[in-house]
Structure formats: C-alpha cells, structure tokens
Point group: C2
Chain length 117, copies 2
C-alpha cells in the first residue's frame, strides 16, 4: 500500500513559542483561516507542511501532541485493516472538500490522519 | 536558514504493535544494528525515513514519543539561536561518523535532532 507523509501537525497550548522555535528551522509560517475560533499556522519546507494548531491548555493532555497526515489510496480498505489490528478509529472515513478523510490512533496514542483525494 | 526533515523516530515500549501499524501505511521495515542492546527498525517511504526505537516501559514517560530529525546548515549558529530562545539543549553539537549532531527540545517537549553532514 503506497502512501506519502505530507503534513505534520503540532497541537499546542503555546503556539507563539512553537512558531518562534520552528521558524529557526526555516519554516515560514502564515496564519490559516479556520472555523470555530481556533487558530492555526502553516509553514512549508520542501514538500512537507508543518502545521501549528492552537489548543486550550486544558485539552493539552487529552489531544495527541503530534498528528502525521498521509495521502493514501483505498482508504476504506486501509481503515478496515487498522480495525483488524484493533486500532482506535477516531474518525471514520468522511467525504470532505479535501477528499475522504479518516483519523486513526497508533498503539501509543499518536494521531494519524489519512486522506484519499 | 534552509533545512530538511529526513527522519521521524517513534520511541516506544511496544515496537511490535507499532511495526504492524506503520507497515499498513506502506513502510517496509528492516531491523537496524545498534549499540547497547537496544532495538530499532527503519522503514523508508519516498525520501522519509521512519524509525521505530524500542525503549523500556519505565522510560516511556520520560522520553519524548516523537523525534524529528532535520538536516541543517551552520549547526553551531542554529543551536546558539535556540539557546537565545531558552530552548533546552539536550545534546550540544558533537562530531560523529554521520556528521555534527545536536538535539534540542521544542517548547512542548518534542525532541528535535539537528544533523549537519
């Protein structure tokens, strides 16, 4: 099964500090418009996108600090295989403007986003 | 400052589960020979390397679950800039066979490896 990591999202309660930190590595961030009053910034470095997503301090223990996003094929089959591994499926495959999206949790609790466009 | 993410390392107390999980995403893992009786596996996907590094359960709360490794230039200046940001420098720049390596900790505790080859 072929896939490609195209985005890493860092969920953080202190986005300003993270923006300064990752800017030093060469990411040039611009703020993204998103719904629901949240704040997010996106920086590109080669073909990798790094997203810094602002979360409330009170959620920072409940939300994985890192999400890796992969472009995948045959997302329904793939999610079924994750289900057979007894992985937690946070979001079943859902049609969106960006394609079909699903979120699974790896055995240690990292968040993995799957996108089939 | 130009840099490039070339490796993501997942530190885990349950490497077998992680290997099965990430194999579904297309990574083909082979075991790496490393010192000190540790175990690690490396999988390649395009130009990204995913490493699964086995740690003891008792360390799993103390070691960041994710390390991102960046190829960088002018590593000494860069580490100095991280120091000015008051980032924790876990490992000062050190000459190794692979180049000069340093490890800094991002404001949320993620581990960032810098390599100047």
């Amino acid at each position: 099964m072929q896939s490609k990591l195209f985005r890493i999202t860092l969920n953080t309660a202190q986005p300003d500090l993270l923006l300064r930190f990752y800017t030093l590595l060469g990411f040039q961030f611009s703020q993204k418009l998103i719904d629901k009053g949240s704040q997010a910034w996106n920086g590109q470095l080669g073909d990798l996108s790094l997203e810094i997503f602002s979360i409330k301090e009170s959620f920072s223990n409940k939300i994985p600090g890192v999400q890796m996003s992969f472009e995948v094929k045959a997302i329904d089959n793939l999610v079924q295989e994750f289900r057979l591994l007894k992985s937690q499926i946070m979001m079943e495959p859902l049609e969106t403007k960006s394609g079909v999206i699903s979120i699974v949790i790896d055995p240690d609790g990292r968040s993995i986003e799957l996108i089939q466009s």
